[in-house]
């Protein structure tokens, strides 16, 4: 019974976590994922992509000022934001898929908090030494030696935090230009503010908060654990094999009464969130599997089979407890639920690819003036006015011809022109990658229905061509 002797405080001091270095399959996997994610994060803005003279040559660019999103050969305009919605849907379903198949893999391997905490812990080990040295240093009184080590560590952390926060801004502007402007102090103030804030949050969250972020601040573990089921792979301590725990000595003294667990505490020592996996599945477990590496190493040393702690489904664990063979992992990966998720996920992706392939790079929209709805001219003819927008979504200037279909007698002119210069079509050039806004006057004879439907048409007159239509309405005074 763990009865508290003093009245418990409402607020708990953080218990330090000093994870021990470990080696093994999952550690190597974590290294690989870390290298890949960091390379993507830091490297992406520097990839060039030639789009010709009228568009930026950065492969991935979120151009907020001009409301464009560039991703390699794809250029997204604001009205095509459904692609982003589609990506979010894919991310959501992808999360269901991954979580139902391999549990909280995101948390353990790919989450930025995990990646940067891991990076910071490597720095910490390099400067302070491994777990025992860190514990000793933490307990040691503040002196020159400790202060020096702490300052060096914090400086390196801060350096990493700075290049982390600094890399973020390059996604929003041309990276080489912005970097130059950043160093000579001519970058926009918002870039400095962004870098400062992201540096500070990286330093604090990665260096000091660490597992506290995962346990207290992050909503993800709650969401992800809700998506797990009895067929999801989670890190499991096989208590039926491990209990009763006992050291090698004890086991030798009374053979048969102890399980495989030597109670060596290596699984606890290596855990980056400071939990004891032998207490069962818990919210603090990010399924990074470092405890599996640690335990397997010990099992190998004492000549017992690996996998006392292992990725295992709850169903398989139940079966094993009852003496059955463990299920092969492929069975948990390929089952109705994961296949259904994969089908939904890939059909959303295919639909988006299809839409991307057939989308038009030229668009017209027309808005009728409502005040006044129509104007009677001196010869009795009726004029309506429209605000027509032409979108040229290609990275080159194009000449376009506006016409009308369904109102053969109509004559068009635009601001700056006059009725005398009106014609059946209007020609205008639209700059590369931009929207031209025209006020278009349309003249029709006074005789006719009060409401007449017609279409505005636009056609690019260059070699590649392309055309679009927009339904519109002409209104006359009631007879």
């Amino acid at each position: 019974m763990l009865a508290p002797t003093a009245p418990p405080s409402l607020y708990a001091k953080r218990k330090g976590v000093y994870p021990k270095a470990v080696n093994g399959f999952y550690r190597r996997l974590k290294w690989a994922v870390m290298a890949m994610t960091l390379a993507i994060y830091w490297g992406t803005p520097w990839i060039r992509w030639d789009r010709g003279p009228y568009a930026p040559d950065q492969a991935v660019l979120i151009d907020l000022a001009h409301r464009r999103f560039y991703m390699f050969a794809i250029e997204i305009w604001p009205q095509e934001f459904y692609y982003v919605a589609g990506l979010l849907i894919m991310a959501g379903i992808g999360l269901f898929l991954v979580t139902s198949a391999v549990g909280r893999a995101w948390c353990g391997y790919a989450c930025p908090q995990t990646v940067w905490t891991d990076l910071y812990q490597h720095v910490e080990r390099f400067i302070d030494g491994d777990r025992n040295a860190q514990l000793k240093l933490a307990k040691a009184p503040w002196g020159v030696r400790k202060l020096a080590r702490r300052l060096v560590k914090w400086a390196v952390w801060l350096g990493i935090a700075f290049i982390t926060g600094g890399a973020w801004i390059f996604y929003f502007a041309d990276a080489p230009t912005l970097q130059h402007a950043f160093w000579i102090g001519t970058a926009p103030p918002v870039t400095y503010a962004t870098v400062a804030i992201l540096t500070a949050t990286t330093f604090v969250l990665g260096g000091f908060m660490r597992e506290q972020v995962c346990i207290y601040m992050c909503p993800w573990p709650r969401i992800q654990t809700a998506m797990l089921d009895e067929k999801s792979l989670v890190v499991t301590y096989k208590d039926w094999r491990g209990e009763q725990r006992g050291s090698l000595k004890k086991a030798e003294a009374r053979p048969g009464s102890y399980g495989d667990c030597l109670d060596c505490n290596q699984c606890v020592a290596v855990c980056p969130t400071g939990i004891d996996i032998r207490e069962g599945p818990q919210i603090g477990c990010i399924t990074c599997a470092l405890c599996i590496d640690a335990c397997d190493k010990v099992m190998a040393q004492v000549g017992r089979p690996r996998g006392l702690i292992d990725y295992c489904t709850e169903e398989s664990a139940q079966a094993e407890r009852n003496g059955a063979e463990p299920q092969p992992a492929i069975r948990t990966l390929l089952r109705a639920r994961t296949i259904a998720y994969f089908c939904i996920w890939s059909s959303v992706g295919l639909a988006m690819l299809f839409a991307l392939g057939v989308r038009s790079r030229l668009d017209i929209s027309a808005q009728q003036d409502r005040n006044p709805i129509f104007v009677r001219l001196s010869d009795g003819a009726i004029r309506n006015a429209y605000t027509v927008k032409l979108r040229n979504m290609e990275a080159r200037p194009r000449t376009m011809e506006i016409g009308i279909a369904g109102a053969p007698a109509g004559r068009l002119w635009t601001e700056g022109g006059t009725r005398e210069t009106a014609g059946a079509t209007l020609r205008t050039s639209v700059p590369a990658d931009s929207v031209a806004r025209l006020r278009v006057f349309l003249l029709l004879p006074s005789a006719g229905p009060a409401r007449q439907d017609f279409d505005f048409t636009v056609r690019a007159t260059d070699r590649e061509g392309g055309s679009a239509r927009e339904p519109a309405r002409f209104e006359r005074p009631p007879a």
């Binding site: 508290p4 207290y216 104007v375 010869d379 700056g416």
Partner: protein, 300 residues
């Protein structure tokens, strides 16, 4: 008050004294940093209320150490906006109005500025869409009493129409043919019939033929022999489809009987040159403006 403390054996945490359907709550302590974050927000709030207007007093709130106010911020923004606009307004005021269309950026700025000024000064009579109403001209159409090119529009706005206190104002005086007994009732009926014919609203009749003579004697001097109007004296064209007061027989008869003398204010003493020029550009851009007489020749 229950003194008995119950502790959860698995976590060593105290259990609270309530229960729903067998579910009990652990009294898990919050992390310490959470407490410090909470204190920090309190400190921030106190600092904020000292720096910025916050505490309500009897007649007003505390001013704040930084001297910030929403009204002051607005004034600053307006001033900055005016400073930004000043060179454009100056350029518009200095550019002859006929040269504006040749400078598209300036023209666009003028049209936009005119649109804003129109909403303040002109909508009361001409309507928010400039479509006018009975007695107030529709500025979207191509029928102009005093001319629809940029110079004529600017002149109309500058000096107004029928401002008796100003010599430059535009004035036309149609006699009240009936009230002042210049024509008899029959003559007026005849001339109305004639006007209905030349505007294409009625078929020829005996009355209209009689009216043609009356028209030639009394009306043609201003409205022209064929009723084509005369912009020099502000005489409306009578042969088109646009009627300021209405083209039905009763309304035309009333017009001939009493005459009509619409007044437009003279804006020269209320608005500066740039604003008037902007208004002229905007009105001209509404779609019915006449071609500019001479772009190359510059202004007058």
């Amino acid at each position: 008050m229950a003194d008995e403390k119950r502790v959860d054996p698995a976590t060593g945490t105290e259990i609270k004294h309530h229960e729903w359907d067998g579910i009990q709550e652990l009294d898990t302590p919050l992390p310490r940093w959470w407490l410090w974050t909470f204190y920090a927000t309190i400190l921030f709030a106190i600092g904020y209320t000292i720096a910025y207007p916050a505490w309500p007093m009897i007649d007003r709130a505390t001013g704040g150490m930084l001297g910030w106010s929403s009204r002051g911020a607005l004034e600053k923004e307006l001033e900055a906006r005016e400073r930004q606009m000043a060179p454009i307004r100056l350029a518009i005021a200095e550019t002859p109005i006929t040269a504006l269309p040749g400078r598209p950026q300036l023209m666009q700025a003028a049209v936009e500025g005119g649109r804003a000024a129109f909403r303040v000064h002109c909508v009361q009579c001409h309507g928010s869409g400039a479509a006018g109403s009975r007695g107030y001209p529709n500025l979207n159409d191509d029928d102009w009493l005093w001319g629809g090119d940029l110079i004529a529009i600017e002149k109309t706005i500058t000096d107004g129409v029928r401002n008796p206190d100003h010599a430059a104002t535009r004035t036309s005086l149609m006699p009240a043919f009936g009230k002042d007994q210049l024509l008899t009732l029959e003559q007026i009926d005849d001339v109305v019939a004639h006007v209905r014919v030349i505007s294409g609203q009625d078929k020829r009749s005996a009355a209209a033929q009689r009216g043609a003579r009356v028209f030639a004697d009394n009306c043609a001097v201003c409205h022209g022999p064929a009723g084509e109007g005369n912009r020099a004296v502000g005489a409306p064209r009578l042969t088109d489809a646009i009627w300021l007061y209405g083209g039905d027989a009763d309304t035309i008869r009333e017009t001939v009987w009493n005459s009509r003398h619409g007044v437009m204010p003279r804006w020269n003493d209320k608005l500066d040159k740039a604003t008037i020029r902007m208004l002229a550009a905007y009105v001209h851009s509404l779609g019915g403006g006449d071609a500019v007489p001479s772009v190359a020749g510059g202004g007058r």
